[in-house]
């Protein structure tokens, strides 16, 4: 494809909003840091050093961004169709559980086959977890917001049950923490750099982002999806089967969130742990928002969030500031974006979604 000057201009304008929001968030957080008696420049310098300052720091950033890159893509694709899947957390847990179920079985097959099977199970697990909300949304007009949110908690409890040390079917008996036994070597994702934990999940996430970009931009499915997101009534008049389209988008979204869980187990933790996600599903919402639901933007936004987390440990060591500062920076960035102080065309996505997402009982 040719990159025209106008498309570069559009990209710059699209990126301006989140960049300004992030700068504003850093400025306000800087005041808080100053109040805590620390020079904010020292704190941010340590954060940069700890996230991109060395190859090993970069590897940590890569590891931290991987799950939120995938959950961000999951939310972004639903945004584009005017849907709001906030059940990424639950889908991630079920994806992790399904992938673990396959990854725990000893198989006499090449590692690549075992990995693909387990990843596939993760996708199916996540998609299965969104099946009921998707059906209710598409065929009964029930808003997907509440149903997907409620299933988050059920999903977390399902994994708690599965890995329970006394009776969970996947639990390691007698373990002091609720967890499964380690997964098979053959189902572990390859490590990308020696002596780091950077695993192939990052490549999977980036590859998927590129794939989704092409899918949304250049395929009939993507066109129908965008149409549904832009104007559901017009889409229906134009012959878009909105029920089928909604089902497909929701299942795709759930499946991608499921992959986030699968990759976290197969690449990093190598066991299914109780409560292993510190809210990656919700981070995905923030990432998708900052990225204005663009798959390529999600890579950048997830990279930023990953860097914040990776850099926060060094920042704490150097300045004794709380790691939780990064949560405040994240929250402020989101608030600045949705407050619409830095207006642009792209913000319409964040703005229009409530009408379509929460007003699901209209049609």
């Amino acid at each position: 494809m040719r990159v025209s000057v106008s498309s570069i201009g559009a990209t710059v304008r699209a990126a301006a909003v989140p960049v300004f929001a992030i700068l504003a968030a850093l400025a306000v957080s800087g005041i808080l840091i100053l109040l805590a008696g620390v020079n904010p420049l020292d704190a941010y310098a340590a954060m940069v050093q700890g996230s991109v300052g060395s190859p090993s720091a970069l590897a940590v950033t890569g590891v931290r961004m991987t799950p939120i890159l995938l959950t961000g893509l999951a939310v972004a694709i639903s945004f584009r169709a005017g849907l709001f899947n906030i059940g990424g957390e639950g889908q991630l847990y079920l994806g992790a559980a399904a992938a673990s179920a396959i990854a725990l079985i000893p198989m006499d097959v090449p590692s690549a086959v075992h990995i693909v099977l387990a990843l596939g199970a993760g996708f199916v697990g996540g998609a299965a977890w969104v099946l009921v909300p998707a059906y209710l949304r598409a065929f009964r007009g029930v808003s997907e917001v509440v149903t997907t949110l409620m299933l988050n908690f059920v999903g977390i409890i399902v994994v708690s049950y599965l890995v329970d040390p006394s009776f969970g079917p996947m639990g390691e008996r007698g373990a002091s923490y609720a967890q499964s036994v380690p997964i098979q070597q053959s189902a572990r994702l390859p490590v990308l750099a020696e002596r780091t934990s950077l695993h192939a999940g990052l490549l999977l996430g980036i590859g998927l982002a590129l794939l989704l970009y092409v899918l949304i931009r250049f395929t009939p499915f993507g066109f129908r999806l965008r149409m549904l997101g832009a104007n559901p009534v017009a889409a229906r008049f134009a012959g878009v089967k909105s029920t089928r389209e909604m089902m497909m988008v929701m299942l795709l979204s759930g499946g991608i969130a499921g992959l986030a869980g699968a990759v976290e187990v197969m690449g990093l933790r190598h066991r299914l742990f109780d409560h292993f996600s510190p809210g990656y599903g919700y981070d995905g919402i923030a990432v998708a928002l900052l990225a204005a639901a663009s798959p390529i933007g999600v890579i950048a936004a997830a990279g930023f969030f990953g860097a914040l987390r990776a850099g926060s440990s060094l920042m704490q060591q150097v300045t004794r500031l709380e790691v939780s500062i990064v949560l405040i920076i994240q929250a402020l960035a989101i608030l600045f974006v949705i407050a619409g102080f830095f207006r642009s065309r792209i913000l319409r996505i964040g703005k229009r979604t409530p009408v379509q997402a929460s007003g699901g009982t209209h049609d």
Binding site: A36, F84, I86, V132, L136, R140, V142, S143, V145, V146, T147, L149, M150, L151, N152, F153, V154, I157, V158, S160, Y161, D164, F167, G168, Y282, I285, A286, L289, E322, S324, I325, V326, L327, I328, Q330, A331, L332, I334, L335, I338, A339, G340, G350, K351, T353, P354, V355, A357, S358, G359, T361
Partner: protein, 318 residues
């Protein structure tokens, strides 16, 4: 096996665990009835819990305990309302996505309370403070079994008995209640009547924040009397479920909280008793019930029609 003492203990714990939720859902019902979804109640509860504990901790040496606890409860409500103000500004004045605003508030609340908690109480954390007094009501407290379950509780629990009834009365028997419901169902009508939809929504969202803050204070100052980071552990989200199960009615929603409290209390005891049934299944039930309710499988449950939709005067808002 199972005797009266265990039932009393379970019942009493169910009430204790349900009480903070019952207070939180009142505000949630009001906000949603007026057209604003408040998923940020989780964070507002957390802010309330932290503010309540911290206020009690700093004031208790300087004044009678009762006064310090009262101040703590009020401070918790104010802190919750402040978070509510952020939500109201973004969603009502700026027309921002209500879900995303709520998610950001939850994130900010977690970050702020974690940071300040460490600053106030240091590394070790759990500082016990003065909390709501336990009161055994005269006469009512003497009723066998039920007396111990319902009327031998902390002051916060009694608040949870009174507030939903008052909230029900205001919602369905006063003009305030009427305008709130109209703001969520027919905002142009509110406009025509010369009332301001934004002002009503600001009021309900601030109220929702205050109630979530109070609920957080009741949680932290009721039984445990200390703050731990992230101690609300999803209770604000449970409240969202209870609102649906309770069909946007303050009293029914508060009653639905009892179901969640009972499941919560049961799972703690099922673990101790070593019952054959995994306690996890009981934990899931309330959430599944909320989905069943919203799917319309048990009677008709209609959310307010304008829930989640910013109101703009110049547009027709069909």
């Amino acid at each position: 096996m199972i005797d009266a003492g265990m039932l009393t203990d379970w019942g009493s714990a169910s009430i204790r665990l349900a009480a903070p939720l019952a207070i939180v859902v009142i505000g949630g019902v009001y906000a949603e009835r007026s057209g604003v979804f408040n998923i940020g109640m989780e964070g507002m509860m957390l802010v309330g819990a932290f503010t309540g504990v911290t206020t009690s901790y700093y004031l208790e040496p300087h004044m009678p305990v009762e006064l310090a606890v009262l101040a703590a409860a009020i401070a918790a409500m104010l802190a919750g309302a402040l978070a509510g103000l952020v939500h109201a500004y973004l969603t009502v004045s700026r027309g921002a996505n209500q879900i995303i605003s709520g998610v950001a508030i939850n994130l900010a609340a977690l970050g702020i309370t974690n940071t300040l908690h460490r600053a106030a109480f240091g590394q070790s954390g759990r500082q016990r403070v003065a909390g709501f007094p336990s009161i055994e009501l005269p006469l009512l407290g003497d009723i066998p079994v039920l007396g111990d379950v319902f009327f031998n509780q902390s002051l916060g629990v009694y608040l949870a008995y009174v507030l939903p009834v008052a909230a029900l009365f205001i919602m369905f028997r006063t003009t305030w209640g009427l305008s709130i419901r109209a703001a969520g169902d027919a905002p142009p009508a509110v406009d025509t009547a010369g009332l301001s939809v934004p002002r009503i929504r600001y009021a309900t969202v601030l109220f929702s924040g205050a109630m979530a803050g109070l609920g957080g204070a009741v949680l932290a100052l009721g039984a445990v009397r200390y703050f731990t980071p992230g101690m609300t552990a999803g209770r604000g989200f449970i409240a969202l479920g209870a609102i649906i199960v309770g069909r946007w009615n303050p009293l029914l929603a508060a009653a639905a909280c009892l179901l969640f409290g009972a499941a919560d209390a049961f799972q703690l005891r099922a673990q101790a008793l070593g019952l054959g049934i995994p306690h996890h299944f009981f934990m899931m039930l309330p959430y599944l019930l909320a989905i069943v309710a919203v799917a319309g499988l048990i009677g008709r449950t209609m959310p307010p029609t304008q829930l989640g939709i910013p109101y703009r005067r110049e547009e027709s808002s069909d």
